[in-house]
Structure formats: structure tokens, C-alpha cells
Amino acid sequence: MTAENPQTRHTPTPEDLDQHIQPHMVIEGIPTKRHTIDIVRKFKEEGLFRFGCLVIMTTMGLAIFGWLDHYDIYRLWPFDPNRATGNVSVEPPGFLEIPGLLWKTVILGHEPPHWFGTDNAGLDVFSRTLAAPRTDMTIAIVAAFLSMFIGTAFGLVAGFYRNALTEFLMRISDLLQAFPVFITAMILVALSGRNEFNIILALALVYTPIFIRLTRAEVMGQAVRGYVESARAVGNPQWRVAFGHVLPNSLVPSLVQISTTVGFAILLTSGLSFVGAGVRPPTPEWGLMIALGADHIILGEWWGSIFPGVAIALTVFGFAAVGHGLEEDYR
């Protein structure tokens, strides 16, 4: 009876005090909630995100099979992507012939046809399109993660220790961003030798400033939080505060950015190969395949460059979709 009466007051118990701290009361310095992104839920609910994840998984799987083929362990596709088959400029089978051909190859065990045709050197387009992720994905993923590691480290240092040296570092990062991306990558790859390793280094250099900037901004926001001060107060040295406490809390923007970066890295890798400043033929690589087919497309040989292009378009779109989904949740 008395409990409902507002006029009746009693001495507060600890339980009452607990009730006073409501979720909406932000206590300065203590992060109220961790950024969590429920990938499984997103996968179930959002079609676009699901599509992106499936594309990424497929290309990753193809990349793994590509390396298995490279070391002659197992070949998923019918032909060696690096060796000419002897059948030059074969047109791919028409739509209506496909069921019959499938029956013959899968059930009767005949010699497999060239599903996507062959280019003018006799290389099987189907096998090469499927084997290409081993080049493209490896370059893009390694480059993106490399630039993330370097960029996060530098960004952490630049955001945590604010002095003349890190100011200078930021000016250099600004300078790097003023360079035209494509031309810089072309110069780096062409002048230091056209191979996969140099492409990875060039892409990593080009994408590092983005991560420096992202991490630095986040670290500067985190460094004034209460937990950082508490970590210092209990006697942690500065470096351990930076790497042990601030770093794990400021990784999220970089992790969200990485999917988009991998997609752009695939575009840049294939673009470099297309203009002749990327990997050397006959490496199975989508941009290079498009370039090899480009000379003949004017003569009506469409199959050499259409299939790798579809592959790039799908893959990069998949990465962009996942990147967009993650970014949306993060905001």
C-alpha cells in the first residue's frame, strides 16, 4: 500500500541505487557498449550481404584450388591454365548444346569441351577464368592486409604520441595521398619489375594512407577515454597502453574498410595488367585475359574477354556489398 504512495519515502537500499543507473545515463569515459557486428544474423537477413559473402567464399575457394593446381596437386578445371591446348580461337558452345555436352563429359566421360572457348593462343578461357583468383585474390588480400597492418601501426603511433615526428609522418601520408593512384602504382610496378611481389608492395603503399588516417582519427577519439587513463593509473607503460588497450579498441574502422579495399585492389590489379604494367602473360589473371582478348573483340571474338570481365565485376561487387553492409552496421 505504502509503496504506491509517492509521499512515503524510505532510506535508499543498494538495489535502489542500482536502479538509478539507467542505460541511457552515459558515464563519461566508460564505453557503454562494444561495437559488435552480428555477421550470422546479417547473413540470414540481408540478401545483398549474403550474396557478397557467397561471392567472397567462392573466389577464396577458387584461389585455394588455383594454388593446388599451381603445385600440381589437384586440378578442378579441365585444362592447364598456362598451357596452350592447340585449338586456337574456338567458339564456346551455344546454349542449346550445353546439356548434351554436360551429359557427354560428366556421364560418358568424354574429353571436356572448351566451355568458354579458347583465345587466339589456344589457352582455355574457362580454366583460366577459374584459376585466376589464385593471382588476383592473393595479390589483393595480401596487399590489403599488409596496408592495414602498416597503416594501423603508423596510425596508432601518430594518434597516440602527438609530437613533431608523428606530425611529419602525417605530412608524408598527405603527400602520398596527393599522388595519382593509378599512375603511382604503374610507376612502382613497371620500374621495379613486373611480378606479383612488386604489385603487392605497390598496392600496399598506395592504400596505406587510408588506414593511417582512419586509425589515427579513431585512436585520437579513444585516447581521451577513461579506460586509457585507468590503464595508465595502474602502472602500465605507455607502449602497453597504446598496443594493449587503445589498439584493440580502435581496430574496427580498419576492419570495416578492409573488404572495400580488397575489392578496389582487385580492380587495380586487373587494371594494371590490362594496360601492360601488371603480371606477365600467360599468368592466369583476369585483367591480363581481358587485354589478350581485347585485340580480337573488334573482330567479333567476344569470348576471350567477356568471361574474365564478368568474374571481376561479380567479385568486386561482392566485396563492395559486404563492405557496405559492415559499414552500415558500424555507423
Partner: protein
């Protein structure tokens, strides 16, 4: 006020260009490439190699080479950057500045048209998708922005060539021209006035060249519009959504202004970020449109840069990077000034 802002920005830009000059200079010399061997060939005698090194000025120390390039304390006796000379190409032996001036307008022209068209498409599309969230235009804009932004533009360029040139030609329909440059190879290009071929032919009142050039520029421009318009539309939409929810739009509505007028106010406020994005894309395309130039063999600065890079032509590489950085800095400056004109909230 504006004058002081511009002066400050120009000063900063010169500083940045100086930094880029030095970074590129030492950057390309730090890479393990041997330009002399590329120029004289593998079988050249050591004397020939030495002679080539000396004639290119590569026998000096790196720092002295930089001074020669800049034109201070020079030992080569040739003018440097400070005298307004970007050097002589090692391959073609002509002045790099002249070559850049010849090739730059080609790229500028088709990028400019593409971005203008993309902007014209993006603004109404972004507006209509922002005013009706969840509608057909909105969903289209969303998917398009995500899709077009992640497409290999060179591949779409090839597809357009295949369809609009080859396939339409096969079917005896009116078709796009062969991707062999800015004009048909048989037409001699008139001497440039501005370098923009459409503008030139208009100035000359030469409609034959005008239509031919427009016909040839159609596909490259369309390729870029295709790739670029999605991102700009998304940007217009995002800002428009934010602006429509703001207080001054509510006030304008409650004051009884017509929907048209309110939409125009909102548009003006949401233009600024979209214009910044357009400027950034412009700067990106200056160097990034290389593959598209290559497909249509337009012969712009991008194609020039890839040629000089593959031939290890150091003066030309330095000059192209510098010229592209310079043009993008100028464009950023122009956009910042335009912002102040459009958006009265911005003060310098």
C-alpha cells in the same frame, strides 16, 4: 577575404608540388630499374653505356641530378624547373612540357564531359530518391551506386565497343565509330586552339569535324559516365536526405513555400559535398582513365604516361605526375571557391 584564402591555398599547393617533385625524383631513382640499359640496348659496349649516362646526366650524384632538374646550382647548363622547363624526353628528345600540353587537353576534354553528364544525371536522380525514400528511384539509386562503383571500366569500355561498334555494324545499323582515336584516321586533325576538339571545331564553325569528334567521343564519355554516375548519385541522395530533415527546411515548409522552392533550397545545400566528390573523382580520373584512353586510343596524358613509364623515360614520368597533381590541385581550389559561392554558410 577570398583573395587571402586563394593566396594561402596557392602557396600551400606550391609547397605540395615541390614535395611531390622531390618525392617522385628520388622515388623513381630508388626503384631497381636501369633506364640506360633500356635505352642503349643489351649488347651495347661499356663505352656507349658510359656515354649515354653522361649525356643523360646520370653520372652525377643523385643530389646534383636533383639540382640540375630543379635548375639551381646546375652543372648541366640546361634550364630546370625554376626556369620553367620540365626537361627533355629521353626517348623522343622533345620538350616534355610541350608533349604534356599537347596530350593533357585530350584527357581533360572527355573527363570533363563525362563528369558534367554524370552530374546532370545524378542530381535529379538523387533528389527524387531522397524525397521518396524506399521508392523505385531510391532502390535503383542504392543498387546502382554500389554496383557501378565497383565495375572494371575498361571491361565495360570493351563491351560497349563490341556491341555498339561490332555488333551494330554486323546488323547494318547505325553504329559507333571504330575505337581508333578522336577522329577517323583519314581526317587530318585541325591545329588546336584550346586543345578541346569540340570547342575548337565550334570556334572554327567547322560542323563536319564537330560531329565527327562528338561521334568519336560518345563511347569513351559514356563509359566513364556509366562507372562514375553511381557514386555521385549516392552522394547527392545522402546529403539530400540529411538536408530535408533539417530545421530550416521545416521552417521553409511551414512558412508555406511551394514544394518546388523548398526542393531547390535543399538542393543548393546538398550540392556542396557532391561537388567535392566530383572534384575528387576528376583528380582520380586524370590518371585513372588510362585503360579507357587505351581502349579508344584517344592519346591523352594517361596513354602518354603509360608509354613513358614502360620506356623508363624519367623526365616524362616526373612531368606527367607533376602535371596531373597540379591540375587536380587547381580543380580542388576552384571547387572550394565555388562552395563559397553556393553555400553562404562557408566563410574563409
Amino acid at each position: 577575404m577570398v583573395g587571402r584564402f586563394i593566396a594561402k591555398r596557392v602557396f600551400l599547393a606550391i609547397f605540395q608540388l615541390f614535395g611531390i617533385t622531390i618525392a617522385v625524383f628520388f622515388g623513381i631513382r630508388a626503384l631497381p630499374a636501369d633506364p640506360v640499359a633500356r635505352l642503349v640496348g643489351i649488347n651495347a659496349s661499356p663505352e656507349a653505356v658510359q656515354q649515354a649516362r653522361e649525356s643523360l646526366g646520370l653520372h652525377e650524384t643523385k643530389l646534383q641530378q636533383l639540382f640540375n632538374y630543379l635548375g639551381v646550382w646546375s652543372t648541366s647548363g640546361k634550364p630546370g624547373i625554376f626556369q620553367g622547363d620540365l626537361g627533355v624526353s629521353w626517348v623522343t628528345n622533345s620538350r616534355v612540357w610541350d608533349e604534356c600540353i599537347r596530350f593533357l587537353p585530350v584527357t581533360l576534354e572527355f573527363i570533363t564531359y563525362a563528369l558534367i553528364i554524370a552530374f546532370i544525371i545524378a542530381v535529379p536522380l538523387g533528389m527524387s530518391s531522397a524525397t521518396k525514400p524506399g521508392g523505385a528511384a531510391d532502390r535503383f539509386t542504392f543498387v546502382w551506386g554500389l554496383f557501378a562503383g565497383s565495375q572494371p571500366e575498361f571491361w565495360w569500355g570493351l563491351m560497349f565497343v563490341f556491341f555498339f561498334f561490332f555488333q551494330l555494324n554486323q546488323w547494318d545499323l547505325p553504329h559507333a565509330p571504330a575505337p581508333l582515336g578522336r577522329l577517323t584516321p583519314l581526317t587530318t586533325e585541325p591545329p588546336p586552339i584550346t586543345g578541346f576538339i569540340l570547342v575548337d571545331s565550334l570556334l572554327r564553325w567547322d560542323f563536319k569535324v564537330l560531329f565527327e569528334a562528338a561521334h568519336h567521343l560518345m563511347l569513351p564519355t559514356f563509359t566513364l559516365v556509366f562507372v562514375v554516375s553511381g557514386a555521385i548519385t549516392k552522394m547527392v541522395r545522402q546529403n539530400m536526405v540529411r538536408v530535408v530533415q533539417s530545421d530550416y527546411i521545416l521552417y521553409a515548409r511551414s512558412a508555406g513555400l511551394s514544394r518546388r522552392k523548398v526542393a531547390l533550397y535543399a538542393l543548393r545545400a546538398s550540392m556542396a559535398p557532391a561537388m567535392t566528390l566530383t572534384a575528387i573523382i576528376y583528380g582520380f580520373l586524370l590518371g585513372g582513365a588510362v585503360p579507357v584512353e587505351l581502349i579508344y586510343s584517344l592519346g591523352g596524358i594517361g596513354q602518354y604516361s603509360i608509354r613513358s613509364i614502360l620506356q623508363f623515360d624519367y623526365p616524362a614520368i616526373q612531368a606527367t605526375v607533376l602535371v596531373i597533381a597540379m591540375v587536380s590541385l587547381i580543380i580542388y581550389l576552384v571547387i572550394d571557391i565555388l562552395h563559397a559561392v553556393i553555400d553562404p554558410r562557408i566563410t574563409f
